[in-house]
Subunit: 327 residues, 2 copies
């Protein structure tokens, strides 16, 4: 087998976050479910933007955040996702390129604008997301470069993409190509609503194509329709090599053929904005796995990266995560 | 005299900040003077953007930051400045409008893009700024609405505008209109290089039009060509009603006819990014003066607002500053 050029290739929605503080009352008035992600159309996005407070614009997107985290650990990364050739698209491309992530998916020259996610952070530091997918919806099979997939040790798929049929096809193509090249395929469930909407397809994808599965407690329980997280994780472990479940302040667990590994959450002095916690957990685990580190160490790196990102506004690391790697 | 509709009207460059971490080596390689502000053209801005790290986009501009601070104290504010009708211009307008600041200067429909400032934050939390003025350079006398100037208790002028001749004319018009309406005029020196470039004109403006003068130690000493800050402030106080000088970690001093008032800096747990410290100090002082508070209290509010803004990335407050106002 050829040697790999990239530790991780992430395939995800290319989204610029617009992060603002909001009160619980604001969420109630807008009929939002705290902590969730909903897709909104362009006119809703404009109306909500007018209603919300001053924003901070920062590149986001779950898969993009994860690959930024892999790069912050010193790993090599690539990204496939769709922007338009507009200001936010240029910002998105810059923010990945400037940290050494390979991102060559061509931008669209017409049609919907680059995606944005209106992120409302309440005083409890919880984030509630409203995503206008814009140009992301045009990602399709043609954007999956077989040579790029074959050159990455792990191809990481963002579950949110499952809300768009052409992206779903792109997903399956990437997973098949990775497996055919002898590489690993990872998937994150992304959102429990997303799991409810696409449960059967997720189950089929996992059983047929996935080696490493990321989920939080709600997602893994929704996927297998059981109340107990450990039980759900054990079911998943029958179909994949490694399953890892994040449990917020309780840390994370990783399950493989050898059993269950529990990892405590890292200490955080003050939680400012939980956006990106799961994405950065995945970054630490993927970095560790791509470097052949023991599962407990992979989990520790994930928790460390998650604790860094929730200590500030925005979903990408502001520190060099290499400091967390044991000498 | 008619009652005022606004506590403060700020006239300044409408700039979106692109904030990134950078090493001291990067500044050296790029030939930058740490802590300073330089004007760059469009091609230099593009080259530097390509070279720098991932950014966070957030509305800035010295006068814009100050008026955002006045609003965060619960004051009423208005802003005059020039953006283009592009993505960053829309972001700038949103970020002021959403905090209740009146901003009705029409955007340009062609020509240079909305201004951006590439802000590099070194590990010591110092910021070094590279500004592409873009659409700001088209601000002129026609943008000064006499009714708006007359409706504000204090018109606050950002010294950076002095780098553009049409804006200089706009400045003088606003100052004359404010005085004619029986209002106060405030000026911030903005930058010691700016003082060097325009010293004679600044002196003439101050003697002819200014009631309240803001400067830091370098600026006030450069303006009067003396080594001693107190001496420089006393000279300034012969020409204006109130002069206030910020001294970094040493706090600030305020001089009026009754003498010198010293105010200590507020405590900061961790300095993250010094961008906006002077702007937010001005916000606290202007809010206090517009509400008729004693000079020492004005200075205390200024130092409190400055300490809030240096505790996070970005130059606008992320907290409700009303908490600092004594009951």
């Amino acid at each position: 087998m050829q040697s790999t050029q990239y530790d991780v290739l992430a395939i995800g929605n290319a989204i610029v976050d617009v992060i603002a503080h909001a009160s619980d009352d604001f969420l109630t008035r807008e009929g939002m479910i705290k902590g969730g992600m909903v897709l909104i159309d362009e006119s809703s996005a404009e109306r909500l933007y007018d209603a919300m407070g001053p924003g901070v614009e920062v590149s986001g997107g779950s898969g993009g955040n994860t690959i930024a985290g892999v790069a912050a650990f010193g790993g090599t990364g690539a990204f496939i996702g769709k922007v338009r050739d507009d200001t936010l698209g240029n910002i998105y491309r810059h923010d990945l390129g400037s940290i050494g992530v390979h991102f060559s998916t061509p931008a669209t020259a017409s049609g919907a604008a680059t995606a944005r996610c209106l992120v409302l952070v309440t005083p409890d530091a919880e984030r509630t997301m409203n995503t206008y997918l814009g140009a992301c919806t045009s990602l399709d099979e043609n954007d999956i470069d077989p040579a790029l997939v074959a050159s990455a040790a792990i191809t990481y798929l963002e579950g949110y993409l499952f809300d768009q049929p052409p992206a779903k096809a792109a997903f399956r193509k990437a997973a098949s190509l990775a497996r055919a090249a002898g590489r690993k395929v990872a998937l994150t469930m992304s959102d429990s609503f997303c799991v409810h909407r696409h449960r059967e397809e997720f189950l089929a994808l996992i059983e047929g194509h996935i080696d490493i599965l990321f989920a939080n407690e709600d997602e893994i329980r929704a996927l297998y329709g059981v109340e107990d997280t450990i039980e759900a994780a054990k079911i998943a472990a029958q179909h994949v090599e490694i399953v890892t479940v994040t449990r917020g302040a309780a840390g994370a667990l990783l399950v493989d053929a050898s059993g269950i590994t529990e990892v405590p959450a890292s200490e955080v002095s003050a939680v400012v904005d939980t956006t990106g916690a799961g994405d950065l957990y995945a970054a630490g685990v993927l970095y560790g796995l791509s470097r052949g580190l023991p599962l407990a160490e992979c989990g520790r790196l994930g928790c460390a990266a998650a604790s860094e990102v929730i200590g500030h506004f925005g979903a990408r690391p502001q520190s060099d995560l290499k400091a967390f790697i044991a000498a």
